[in-house]
Structures are given as C-alpha cells and as structure tokens.
Subunit: 554 residues, 2 copies
C-alpha cells in the first residue's frame, strides 16, 4: 500500500455542468453532493457564484442543509480584474459571500492569454494572482489555485508559466493545480512538464540533481494538483502520469462530464489509482459504491449511462458467448482486468442473469414501513429484478420502490384503480397536431370516466386523470410534475425498443420520483404518472393524519 | 513529417461487433468497408468466418461487389486446435475459403490460458502457432498474428510470451500484434513491455545496448503491432505509447466500438498520430473525412453518436458562452487544441450557427436529376440546414435528400398528398393494449380515407396508408420496411425532447433510407414513412418506364 495521500477534488457540479446537455437542478446538486461525500471525495466544487443564480442558491442551501462527514465545499471564481484590489472586486466579493471553507480561483499561465484575452501586462497578471490568493487566504479560506492553460503556457514560455505558479505560492495558495485546459497534451508531455515544475519551482530533486535554474524554490510543502480535459482522449492517462510524477491532488468529474469532450473521469481515475497503482483514496466499502455513484449522477443528469464505460458500465464486464464465456467460467480473471465487485459492478455472462438490489429490508426501514415478512421482502426483490429486466430503473425512483413495498401488504387499499385509458394524436389539415386522452378509474365502487386535451398525449392523460379523481381528493391540486424524462433503451430492433419514463413530482414541500417502462411510450408514461399520483395521495393522507393527531394531542 | 509508415488496421466489422448493442447487416458492413477504404485505412477486418453465416456472406459479397482502392480485407480466426494439422482443421479451412488477401489469426501468449483454457502443453501451443501461420502463408496469404493477452502473459512469464511471438515469426508472420486483450494495462507498462520485446526478441538496440539475453533475434523486419482495449480508459494512450516505442501497426475501431469497454478508438488514435506526433497516415483530405466517417458508422450501428467524443463529437469544439466564447472570438486557438477543420469538425460558438452539407450539386448529379438552378440548389441547402437544426440527420437518409431536390422542381407532382392522420393507443381492462390509425390522402382530385389496426401506432399508420393507395399503386406490394430506428435527441427538458426516426426500406432489389424528426414521435414516424413510400413510387415508376422503353426500342 502506497501511503502517500491523494486528494480527490470533484468538480461535477461546476466544470461538469459546462458540458453540453448537462444540467442539474439545485435539488439535484444537493443530492449529488451528499453522495460524493458518502463516497469519500475530499473536495466538492459546487459552482461559480455570480455566473448564475442557481449556483448561489446551492451554496446557501448547502450551508444550511448539507451535513457532510468528510468533504469540503469549494466555490469557484477567477482572480481579481486588472487594476483592481481584490477587496474591491465584486466577483471576489461574491466568492467570499458564498461562505465556503474552500475557494478555487483560476488565473492565466499562458502569455498569449495575458496579452490577447486579458489585455494586460505580464507583471499585472502576476499581481492579480498573488493578491487574489492572499486576500482570500486573509478571509480564512483554504485556497486552491487553478493554473489555467498551464501546459500550453509552459510550452510557449516556461519561465513565465512558472512565475505565475510562484505568484500563487507567494500569495499563500494551499494547492496549485496544473490545468490542461484545452486537453491537447499527451501523457509524456504532461510527465515531462510536471517533472520540470517539481525540479525548477519546488526544488524537488528527481534524479539526485540539484534545482537546475535560478528560481527561488518556495515552500516545498505546497500541494501540486492536476486538472485534465479529454480532447485527446487521454485525460485519464494524463492524470495518472501526473500522479506518477508527483501530483497529489486530482481534479475530475463523475463520468467525465464537462466542457467539450469532458474532464478527467474520476470513475476511471480512482480505481486505477487505488487498484493498480496502490494508493488508498477511499475505503474498499466506498470504492464498491463507484458503479452506483456513476449511475445515480447520470440518472439525475438525464444522460444515458454509457454502457461501455470502463469499470462502471453495464457492459464493462459483460461477455458475449463463445470462447470468452467458456474461459470466464473456467477462470473468472481470464478475460477481466479486475474483480468487478471491487467497484460495485458485476460480471455478466448471460443477459438473463441480471442481478437486482439486495437492500429491500434497509429501504423498508428507511420508508418507515412495517408488517412485511422476510418472504414478502424477497417477493418485492424478485419483482424489482423482473421489472429492471423489463427496462425499469429504480435507482433514482424510490417512490416507485416504496409503492412496490406498500402494495405487498395484504391490507393495502389503492387510492384509485385503473380500468381504461386512451390517448389519441391527430394531424388535421389546416389545424395541425392535436392530442386527447380519456381515463376511466375505479375508487371503491364508484367509476370515474373523463376526457381532456393536452399539448401532447401524456399531458392530456395527466389532465384527464385529475379531472377524474380531483373531486374526491381535493389536495391533488398541490401535486405537480416537475420533470419528465424519456429514454429509449438499447435494443437490437427499433420497433421493439423499450422506452423508460422517469417523472419527478413535488407538492411544494417534498419531491419524489417514479419510473415506468414499456415498448409503448404511452404505457410507460402512464405507469410513472399513476405511481406519482398514488404515492402523493397515500403519503399526503398520512402526513395530514399525523398533523391532525398532533393538533388533537397538543 | 515523420516518414516512418504506420499501418492502420480497422476491426470495426469484427471486434467492433463484439460490443454489446453493436450489430450490422451485411449491407451495412459493405457500406462501411467502402467508406473505410475511401478514408484510407490499410486493412479492414471483416469478420470471423464460421462464427456466424453473416460473416461468410460478407466475405463472399466483398469479393464480388467491393472495388477497393487501397485497403486489404482480412478474415479473422484462431490457430489450429491442439493435436491437429492446420490442413485438417475445419476452422482453418473456413478461414482459407473466405478467400481474403489477408488472414489474422490469434494464439495464446499467457501460460495460464494454455494450461487452463486450451488445456494443452506449452510446447504444443508453440507448434499450433508456428504451423498455423506457416500453413496459411503457404496458401499465399499475408498473415497477421494477434498475440492474445500478450501483456498479461508477459507479466506472468516473459520467456514463454516471447517464445510464442518467435513461433509466429518462424512460421512466417508478416505482422506480430501485441494485444492487451483484457485492457488492464497502463501506458507505462505498455511502453516497458514493447521496449523489452524489441530488445529481447527483435534485437533492436534501445540505448545503444546489445540484446540482453540469449534469445536468437529473428528477422528484424517483422512489423510489430498494438491492439489495445479500453477497460482502464487508456486504450488511446496505450496505443500512442506503443507507437512511440516502435510499433508500426495499429489496430482499433471506429468510435472505439468493441467488446466490454471497446477497442482503441481510431477516431482519436489517427488524429493524435498525424496532427500531434507527425506521422502521415492518410492525406489531409482523407483526415478531413474523419467526423463524417464516425457519424456514418454510428448511424448504421443505430448508436447515438457520443456528442462529447474527442475530435469528431458535435460538442468537441463547442463553447458555452461567457469567457470562453469571448476568448475564442479573439483567438480561435485559445480554447481549442487543434483546428477542427483538419478532422472535418467545426467550432460551435452559437447553437444557431450549425452548418449544413455543402455538396448539394454533387448529390443532384449523383441522383441523375437535372433542371435545378444554382438558386434552387441553395434553397435545398437552406432547407437541409433548417431541418438538421430541427433534429433531422440526412447523412444516412439519402432518399429524403433526393425527395427534397425533386420537390424543388416546379414540375414536381407528388404521388399522394397528406390531408389527415390519427393514431390511437388504448388500454382496456381485460383486453390489454390496442393501436389504431386512420389516414386521409389526396391523389389528383380523389380523396382516400382508411383505417387500420397494428401492433403499435406506427405499424397501424403504415397499414392504413397502404389500404388507401395500394389500389392506385399495385406495385406498392413490393415495398417493405426493413428497419425502424428511433432516437430521442439530447434536450434540456424531457417533454420537449425531439425524436428522430430512421426507416430503412426495400423493394427486394434496392434499399433506401428516410428520416423524420419532431417532438411528437407519431409525427416523426409519419414523415419518414411517407418519404419512404413516396420515394418508392417515384423511382419505381421511372424504372418501369425505362424498362418498357428499352423493350420497345429493342
């Protein structure tokens, strides 16, 4: 075991959201931060205060709502502007007002950028870096300095690039991060330049040599970090190479989300460092959450998980018939580079052997449900396995899991039962597209049968269902759909493709998610929609009852 | 420019199809082989004769139909079985009967596999390799030897692993390929082991040293290759490192498709080698086809193109507002590692600046259409840009492009015109799901209005349309849908998500593809379906007329 400590800095919530198509609600960001903390990352970069209101709301709610066990929250911003004192710079003040224990600021390392983009002098850029770091340190924050374009800057003008790092160190930076912002470097270039930084700036001897130039080696205990982008498809290799050459702080994102081609993918960096290079970053139990963490974040991002993703993808340890399967049966490791259980993944030899979640009992207690026998729990587990086989994904749809558990109880009475529904889409010349739905449900011994229009078939179904039961359940007016996500699942044949629908709902105080799957998008949508309404009606009635009870007792 | 020749060996059609979810028809494989040849790869591995009938059909049709300018087709198989003479081995005979100029055979390098999987002796395995290579050479083929699990084998038993390579070289192999079959190696391990092979096996001096052990250096002119898998997310880096250390034959697939986490992605390996490492693999004009090649193959695989894919992804050079856009406007290269035009990609600063295809005139001539002015061509180009913005993708739907061109002509008469359609989905208690559609079309001054059922709404629409017009167009009975592909396009909000439908059709002799897109899946499907029928009716009538004319003239 290599005892040298490596810091994991996750920037999924900041650099990750710069990726095209990646967008999280504030609720999503809080949920992800909690999971990252449980997983054991050291830093969570939450956003860029001032770049948009959602990021400021995150820092505000993170302070009040998140109870992190280990991770520290970082806010991201730039150095002060040219000619300004950091204390007078509104952007720096926003960073301070985010009130995080850690602040990341980026500055320019590349002379081209100083001249052409900042349009200021080389000397002024050094002052901006030094004084910004110093000012934020004086406010009691840990400061991580991101040296933007460091590698390109070093190639263009090594002396100046090193001087910018020195400015950050003189200002008191705790961590100095070498960024391959454009992602254009190949691993051996990264290695050579990290070597040069350690030798010429930090005075670290590499081969028993003394520092080779006149730079004054500053405090050698500054932490050196790496921030890689994947434009050359070598971000993981670049990061590993930087660690081999002495970087002990690693930045990246879950699933490699990020601007353009993404950031270094922590889902590969972490297991490579821990399982192959001998570093101990997280506990074995935490590492075994890797696959779940990856899928949780992709569900919230509404991005299809990449089934071929190394370590965590559903196909990462899948073997397609023939010789491989034979060999795997004889020797599990003959076609696998690691034991998939170490990262919470699994070998898949036959498609029918998909395994389900083994935590039904835990979930039942979480939901505060009792009266289920072990046999009934096993029955729900079997049901979940069958449904996941059919395309459902319960990982981020806990309300649907809770309904499965409730429905297993012999005394369960559903608030409504479906009889029929129809959905119609029409194209009429001169009138355009038109959608209408009918819903027929039973409540007790009464039948309700209603019709409604909508801007699409699912919208129309939602309206018809409300028309049918709102008179019985007037509190349904508090129930709203927040988000509706549709995904076509992988399938050999297009017409047989399964569709998965995930619906996020709210009553203004609580939020919950439900899931449906079918080869028919209308049916998949109905399942998720009906679950959402059923979950609301059940849990809302219980909450009302508890509140009334409380009022009577008081 | 580095003059050392690098061979590009593409195995998309063989190892690529081992990837879960990747499947090509024989037509698809022929189309891809043509594109790979135009792009300039040196070898195209077409399949494994005997593993399935489709692969044998490919080799058969490839010989008759493909006129390749540069690439050589390879068939893949294993060494002969233990105890068998290659001339008596049915699998080797199938390989020979595929009649390709090149044969790739793989053999075991790892003693564990020889013992536990092959269950034969170390010596017998060497014989199987040597004699299989020699036999296939004697049949006049170029032989590429894939050393399966070479790196794992070398780590376990370097002497034996080298002896297997030597057996292949003694047999007369033209190329010896070091395979990281499990994808578990990191770049510096690859580098060290390639160094060792060159030193100890090929007698190549690395640092002026003499070969360091007693192996007899065989002919030093054997070509050394690398075959990497992406299980550690370092396949591209591993491949580049192997080339740095002297490999001159590079295996990989388009988009990195392949078993588990995929193969080395040639879409990244090639531009890194050519643009960053100075090798000349293909001409600059061919390299500029890289993005189109990547998207063409993903369309045929019906896999969503990875928008974040390095070099070729739609987001690879996309800049999201703010400082980056500013900087990019000032200096294009300030946030780009290469000029995207070099790989046929483009900088995207604003979403509305998507550019279209610039080859309308070429396509018009291809289709044999005349009578279009330059202005009309520009009009079609504008229309294509607008439709691609709305979610259409014309790259693999040339029939839809031809229809756009035809419809621009003032004398165009459509074979039918849509008035109305409806599609209905019903869930009825006890009767399950039910789908019905109505279609109302005009032909000349007649109205046809029909209704049909189907196993889904699109199937029902297809039947209703046929009912409406088949009496007028009896040859429509020859028109069949071959494939129906649906894709939900990236979208911020689920309910507003666009859907793209791609339909492949055939009349038994010809095949063509059409595309539709909409936020409504029913509408998207209708567009692609109606285009398919319209294309058939137009071109079929012209073919019939030409044949009759021919008959009359004759």
């Amino acid at each position: 075991m290599n005892k040298r400590q490596i810091q994991i800095f996750d920037t999924t919530l900041r650099d990750g959201t710069q990726g095209e198509g990646v967008s999280f609600s504030c609720d999503d960001k809080l949920r992800i931060a909690r999971r990252l903390d449980e997983f054991g990352v050291d830093y969570i970069e939450g956003g860029w205060p001032g770049s948009n209101p959602k990021d400021m709301e995150f820092f505000d709610r993170a302070q009040r709502e998140l109870k992190l066990r280990h991770a520290r929250i970082a806010a991201f911003g730039s150095t002060c502007r040219a000619g300004l004192d950091p204390a007078d710079d509104p952007q720096i003040q926003l960073l301070i007002s985010a009130n995080t224990p850690v602040v990341t600021i980026f500055g320019k390392s590349w002379d081209l950028h100083v001249r052409e983009v900042l349009r200021t002098s080389m000397e002024e850029n050094l002052r901006m870096i030094r004084e910004s770091v110093r000012y934020i340190k004086s406010q009691g924050r840990e400061v991580i300095y991101d040296a933007e374009h460091f590698f390109d800057g070093y190639k263009a003008n090594p002396e100046y690039a090193l001087a910018t790092l020195q400015a950050a160190i003189l200002g008191g930076a705790d961590v100095v991060v070498l960024c391959d912002t454009n992602g254009g470097c190949l691993p051996w270039e990264i290695g050579q330049i990290v070597d040069a930084v350690r030798r010429d700036l930090l005075g670290h001897s590499l081969d028993g040599d003394e520092p080779s130039n006149g730079h004054q080696p500053p405090a050698a205990d500054v932490v050196l970090g790496i921030h890689a982008h994947n434009d050359s498809e070598t971000a993981v290799a670049n990061t590993l190479e930087a660690v081999r050459r002495g970087c002990t702080h690693v930045q990246g994102t879950v699933n490699g989300y990020g601007e353009r081609c993404g950031n270094a993918n922590l889902m590969s960096v972490i297991p490579n460092l821990q399982l192959k290079m001998g570093y101990e970053l997280v506990s074995p139990e935490q590492l075994a959450q890797l696959t779940e963490l990856s899928r949780f974040v992709s569900e919230l991002a509404n991005l299809s998980p990449d089934t071929h993703q190394p370590f965590v993808g559903a196909s990462a340890f899948a073997h397609k018939g023939g010789t491989h399967v034979n060999a795997v049966v004889k020797h599990a490791m003959s076609y696998q580079h690691i034991d998939p259980a170490l990262v919470g993944n699994e070998t898949r030899v036959l498609v029918s052997e998909l395994s389900g979640k083994d935590n039904i009992a835990v979930k039942r207690r979480e939901f505060g449900l009792d009266g289920l026998s072990r046999e009934e729990e096993r029955q729900v587990l079997r049901q979940i396995k069958e449904l996941e086989n059919a395309g459902f994904a319960f990982e981020s749809a806990e309300a649907s899991v809770e309904l499965l558990l409730r429905r297993t109880r012999t005394d369960y009475t559903p608030p409504f039962e479906l009889i029929d529904y129809t959905a119609t889409v029409e194209h009429r010349a001169g009138r355009g597209m038109f959608s209408e739905a009918t819903v027929k449900v039973r409540v007790g011994d009464k039948i309700f049968h209603e019709v409604a229009e909508g801007n699409g078939p699912v919208n129309a179904m939602n309206r018809a269902l409300r028309k049918a039961i709102q008179q019985l359940y007037p509190r349904l007016q508090h129930h709203h759909l927040k988000d509706y996500k549709v995904r076509i699942l992988d399938s050999e044949s297009g017409t047989a493709a399964k569709v998965r629908v995930l619906i996020d709902s709210t009553d203004g105080e609580r939020s919950w998610s439900t899931v449906g799957a079918s080869t028919n998008i209308i049916e998949a949508s109905w399942i998720a929609l009906a679950d959402s309404v059923e979950y609301f009606l059940l849990t809302d009635a219980e909450r009302q009852a508890r509140q009334q009870e409380g009022a009577v007792t008081a």
